[in-house]
């Protein structure tokens, strides 16, 4: 198992306690604390997620996230079904990005069984992963602005663009969100030239949408007032809590699995990794917008040099697949962060241990540290900027 290369800007000293802010010091005598329970049916928590917030006046002094409402026993289920049968279940992990979930699982099984993947399949996987990144970041920008309260306008623009990408997935894999498209050793179907032309047309049009979206949001003084300076995450805390993905890069830490691991054919594309400086909600939003612009570059290059050839390795065995006993941990840079699958095989068609490392769950652990001292209105936006999907948090 290759240990990840230590990120270059690893800060030296780590603060002793993760939360350097003031914990709840108010006793009942001094000021009467108001306990507010937000969720699990709260309109602004993303799915079934509950926050027990203790308020001193307007300021938050304690925030206890409660989740598990969407627990579907995913990992135990994985141990009782064959490797192939677990693939459709990975769509349901982070139900916004099924293509990247499938790819992470496929990479883990291929590492376990030493399965080779043809060139064309690698390129198609990169195209699908970058399309999913566009989709996820567009959704995030929409939800974040919906939490700040602009009655749905950015959300509708985001969904208008998302629908175009989902139509592409539907015409390729048969279903908009539950694609179940990757197999061990390649993809299930070979994309047709018409499909690739449609992707090229979408990619060309996406830049215009982003410019319009940024004109509406990024320069808006109210958005800047609401998000700049709220929910600040320090690099040290982010690294010690294992945060990955755009949230980590927003704090300035240069750690992107596509560059660190160089899995798939990513080293062949040149793209840049944007880094934030303040680690607050505005940075997390802007990092995702800039990452979308980088994804468009990657998509253009991938579409340009997509090779011909088989989409699935001829020797690939999907049904009755019995990998040699052993263990493997495959991970990719999902839109929300590092999503990894840890598999232990004992030679039987079912994995002995099937573990998912979801980025949303790990990123959620520091919600309280970011919300201390902020107001309730900020807590809602900070939760939105972490970009969690409860399917992945609870599994």
């Amino acid at each position: 198992m290759t240990s990840p290369a230590a990120p270059s800007s690893f800060p030296s000293g780590l603060p002793s306690s993760p939360g350097a802010h003031v914990r709840a010091v108010h006793d009942d005598f001094h000021g009467d604390l108001l306990e507010v329970s937000m969720g699990p049916h709260h309109p602004s928590t993303h799915g079934v997620f509950r926050m027990i917030v203790t308020l001193d006046g307007e300021r938050i002094v304690r925030l206890k996230p409660v989740f598990g409402y969407l627990h579907r026993n995913h990992e135990k289920l994985g141990e009782q079904t064959t490797y192939l049968a677990s693939m459709p279940y990975t769509d349901r992990l982070d139900y916004l990005n099924s293509m990247t979930n499938n790819w992470a699982y496929a990479i883990a099984v291929e590492k376990l069984a030493g399965q080779a993947v043809p060139e064309r399949a690698e390129y198609v996987r990169v195209i699908l992963a970058e399309l999913t990144r566009l989709l996820n970041h567009t959704c995030l920008a929409g939800f974040l602005l919906q939490d700040t309260g602009c009655s749905g306008t950015p959300l509708m623009y985001a969904f208008r663009e998302r629908e175009k990408i989902l139509d592409l997935f539907e015409s390729l894999s048969g279903s908009r969100m539950m694609c179940n498209f990757q197999r061990f050793g390649g993809c299930r179907l070979d994309p047709t030239p018409e499909w690739l032309a449609a992707v090229r047309q979408l990619v060309d049009g996406y830049g215009r949408f982003l410019d319009e979206f940024e004109a509406l949001i990024s320069g808006n003084e109210i958005v800047m007032a609401r998000t700049q300076g709220t929910g600040v995450l320090t690099p040290a805390l982010a690294i010690s809590a294992g945060v990955t993905g755009p949230m980590l890069r927003a704090t300035g830490v240069d750690y992107d699995l596509r560059k660190v691991d160089g899995y798939g054919v990513y080293p062949r594309f040149e793209f840049r990794v944007p880094l934030g400086a303040h680690g607050d909600t505005y940075d997390r939003y802007m990092i995702r917008i800039l990452e979308m612009r980088e994804s468009i570059q990657i998509l253009r290059q991938a579409l340009r040099d997509l090779p011909a050839g088989p989409i699935l390795d001829p020797k690939a065995k999907n049904r009755g697949f019995r990998p040699k006993p052993g263990e493997a941990y495959g991970r990719i840079e999902g839109p929300k962060g590092e999503i990894g699958f840890y598999l232990i095989s004992d030679g039987s068609p079912n994995p002995f241990r099937y573990r998912v490392r979801p980025p949303s769950f790990v990123n959620l652990t520091i919600l309280e540290d970011m919300c201390l001292g902020q107001t309730v209105a900020d807590a809602v936006i900070i939760l939105g900027s972490i970009d969690i999907v409860l399917g992945e948090v609870d599994r």
Binding site: L84, E170, S175, L189, G219, E221, P314, K317
Partner: protein
């Protein structure tokens, strides 16, 4: 200056307001019952069984009740009982083939693993039912649909499957002819009743990548 970002935002919303009256790009609503979206060819919702001869839908089912799909189905929503004649000899036909489509997540793994191209994905999504158990438990009779229907749903894929089957039948006929030729002298062996097309080489269970379907 303080208000410029806000004015920019207003300009964008105004452009969308005006654009939604003339620019198809900015008016994306399809009013569902009147206007239905054109489903792409690859769209898949729930499986159905393919039969070749419309006159005898249950007899000419391609399915030979080999229960591969039953074992491979992730949510285990397929239930097959093989048909046996009075002496108990297995007939290569399913007596009972139930799919509980309230459990099925239409992941089309059954289509992938079926060596006989007997089960394909349907495209109907308006399946509201009042009764969850009887209504959504489709039996063999409701599942069985003609090959022509399959052609209508997935034209390119159906054409590829037919070509493959025809080619197998030709190979199989040639093999029989070759077997029949050297055995001209010994009496011709009793041809098995419904000679199933031999499953392709067991080792390469790889799902046949049918030729690329048009989006």
């Amino acid at each position: 200056m303080l208000g410029t970002g806000l004015l920019q935002g207003l300009a964008v919303t105004a452009k969308n307001l005006v654009g939604s009256f003339h620019d198809p790009e900015r008016y994306v609503t399809m009013e569902y019952p009147e206007v239905k979206t054109k489903l792409p060819e690859n769209y898949r919702n729930f499986p159905f069984l393919v039969h070749d001869d419309p006159k005898d839908p249950l007899g000419s089912l391609r399915c030979v009740a080999c229960t591969i799909c039953e074992t491979e189905c992730p949510p285990q929503c397929i239930y097959i009982v093989m048909d046996r004649d009075e002496k108990g000899k297995a007939l290569k036909r399913p007596k009972v083939f139930d799919i509980d489509i309230s459990v099925c997540m239409s992941c089309q793994i059954c289509v992938e693993v079926c060596p006989f191209d007997a089960i394909k994905m349907d495209q109907h999504y308006e399946i509201a039912e009042t009764n969850r158990f009887q209504g959504l438990l489709l039996s063999r009779e409701q599942l069985s649909k003609s090959n022509a229907y399959y052609h209508q749903l997935h034209p390119t894929e159906a054409a590829a499957v037919d070509a493959l089957l025809a080619e197998q039948k030709a190979k199989q006929a040639a093999a029989k002819a070759a077997k029949a030729a050297p055995a001209a002298k010994p009496p011709a062996p009793a041809a098995p009743a419904a000679n199933p097309p031999p499953p392709p080489a067991p080792s390469a269970e790889a799902p046949k990548p049918p030729t690329p379907p048009a989006p």
